[in-house]
Symmetry: C2
Subunit: 344 residues, 2 copies
């Protein structure tokens, strides 16, 4: 297995020069005419072009009453992948960064980890050895750091971590590194009667503490991977204890399964960025009626990252080929997005 | 194990005499003054008294802005059991009646069932032998009749069956044998900003085809037991195939687990009728803030059924004791409900 964790060399000069441009962009966006423009344009961070048009056309089509492609409000279900579709997933999944930090925080209570892989590698910041521990090593890290506490305790641990942890390149909170154009898209769909769901390979309980505040997606509209829990009465108080046992992996073929289990009807629009989203896009679009599939292609190494067919996280290979065949919209991040992050 | 299926002797005279009263009730409900009354009273099928007051008081309390027990709209989650709480569950769970009918419908393709239990018992209407096959026999029946087709095909099978199958005593469609007072309660809670969920031990895919039409509860707000599914491409069309393997049992301690998995936040109100709902009621109410727990106690053998501590379906024993300790509202169906079914 190839090393799965490789921090890209940060080109500080490029980063700084692009940061220097921000006040200009920011000022223009907040000028009076820009605000007026934004009121007319529901997707102000999207450049005009075929990508943006495909979204606007689809929404116009399914909301036009008495037209052939009209879809009743209750059937307007849209599903969004999270990592790489709504927020950053490089240089590693945010949840993995969380797990590594948790290992370090928990280490004093686990002196044996100093000599035990994959914990030793984490404690020594030895990403190469960690990568060599493979998927089995990563699953072990996730289970150890995500289990053994109640669901309420875990939600607090996640919230506390997200309140302070910063992205290694952008030095921002992870919740600031969400994609502004996708926030606008979520709001635009909801304004048109859509119910927006997250359907992510990430942990369902890792997302729920913050998705409502950041994306406007409430906990009951978040689908994700999960571990098993056990109901217990502790001092006459009911708790759910998180167990070190995988319950469900909401990735690849797991996404349609998770959608069916949680939502119980087929989405009419799905948004992803990697091969993990292929089956969700197939499930959503390869059926009758007006359907919309969209893939975010990360093409902007300067403002964010550029990766696809050979990436360790968020690999986009088969789904990119399928997009061409199935006429899914492919976002060229560099070309289609005026801004990447809300802070830009 | 005691026989689990025993059709109660129907007292035809009582049934007919109560049916004879219906036009009177019906007429009074639709008179002008009754309509005006209904407009003022959100729960017209509930008799005045402590039960009804406890509901009205709770809703008033959590919706009064700037008061100590105010609950923001997004946290107003209410969960309802289905069998025995929203619709009839005697003389057997509706889903079991469905499974038995399915065995008969599928029998021509399974000649071996003539000599194989528990199928033989079903085909011969031998309820005693069927009951002796125990839980294992019933699970086998359910898996055989609920698996092997796609999710879309299963939804159609359920809808077709419910369109014609009739209750043995009331001779009505099962979807007509839902509780009118509970329909009013669902609507009343929604009118006060609650999101209403079903959390049932019954099959999630057995409920979803009709809960929106009958209860106003959309598929994505239905939690239930499930079997595993497999994603497949069939002639370039994606399908989910139902497998004869249990995925999740949404009963007893499974209810808080299912609530956490599907909803991701704790309800503030929960409604049940049996020991299967005990842990859901504990999870909902034994915590800080304004909380509401309610148990439907079936006390009306004349208009519906009377059963509790020793019933084969919907046994209410531990949860009835817990209701007294935890101050949950207990509905005395005979005393508290003016009408039972919408058709009354």
């Amino acid at each position: 297995m190839k090393p799965i964790i490789r921090f890209p060399a940060v080109n500080r000069r490029v980063l700084l020069s692009s940061l220097a441009m921000l006040p200009v962009l920011s000022a223009s966006l907040h000028s009076t005419s820009a605000v007026a423009q934004a009121q007319r344009d529901p997707l102000p961070s999207w450049n005009d072009g075929v990508t943006k048009s495909s979204i606007l056309d689809f929404v116009a089509r399914v909301t036009a009453q008495n037209e052939p492609y009209f879809v009743p409000v209750e059937q307007r279900i849209a599903t969004f992948d999270n990592d790489g579709t709504l927020w950053i997933e490089q240089p590693m999944y945010v949840q993995l960064a969380f797990a590594l930090d948790r290992v370090k925080a928990m280490a004093p209570r686990h002196p044996e980890w100093k000599d035990k892989q994959p914990f030793k590698a984490v404690l020594e910041d030895d990403m190469k050895t960690l990568a060599e521990s493979g998927e089995r090593g990563l699953v072990e890290l996730v289970l150890v750091t995500h289990a053994g506490m109640t669901t309420d305790e875990f939600a607090k641990i996640v919230s506390d971590w997200l309140a302070t942890a910063r992205h290694p390149r952008f030095k921002r909170l992870y919740t600031e590194l969400v994609y502004q154009p996708m926030l606008e898209l979520l709001a635009y769909l909801r304004a048109n009667g859509f119910k927006t769901f997250i359907v992510s390979g990430g942990g369902i309980e890792f997302m729920r503490p913050w998705t409502e505040r950041i994306y406007g997606v409430p906990p009951e509209q978040v689908v994700g991977s999960s571990i098993k829990t056990r109901f217990e009465m502790r001092d006459a108080t009911p708790v759910l204890v998180r167990l070190p046992e995988v319950n469900f992996i909401d990735d690849k073929t797991g996404k349609p399964i998770g959608i069916n289990e949680h939502i119980g009807r087929r989405p009419i629009a799905a948004f992803g960025n990697s091969d993990g989203d292929l089956e969700m896009l197939q499930w959503t679009t390869l059926t009758g009626g007006a359907r919309f599939g969209l893939i975010v292609h990360h093409t902007d190494a300067e403002r964010e990252y550029a990766y696809d067919r050979h990436s360790h996280f968020g690999r986009l290979d088969k789904a990119l080929d399928a997009a061409a065949i199935n006429k899914w919209t492919v976002v060229d991040m560099k070309k289609d997005w005026k801004r990447i992050f809300p802070v830009d």
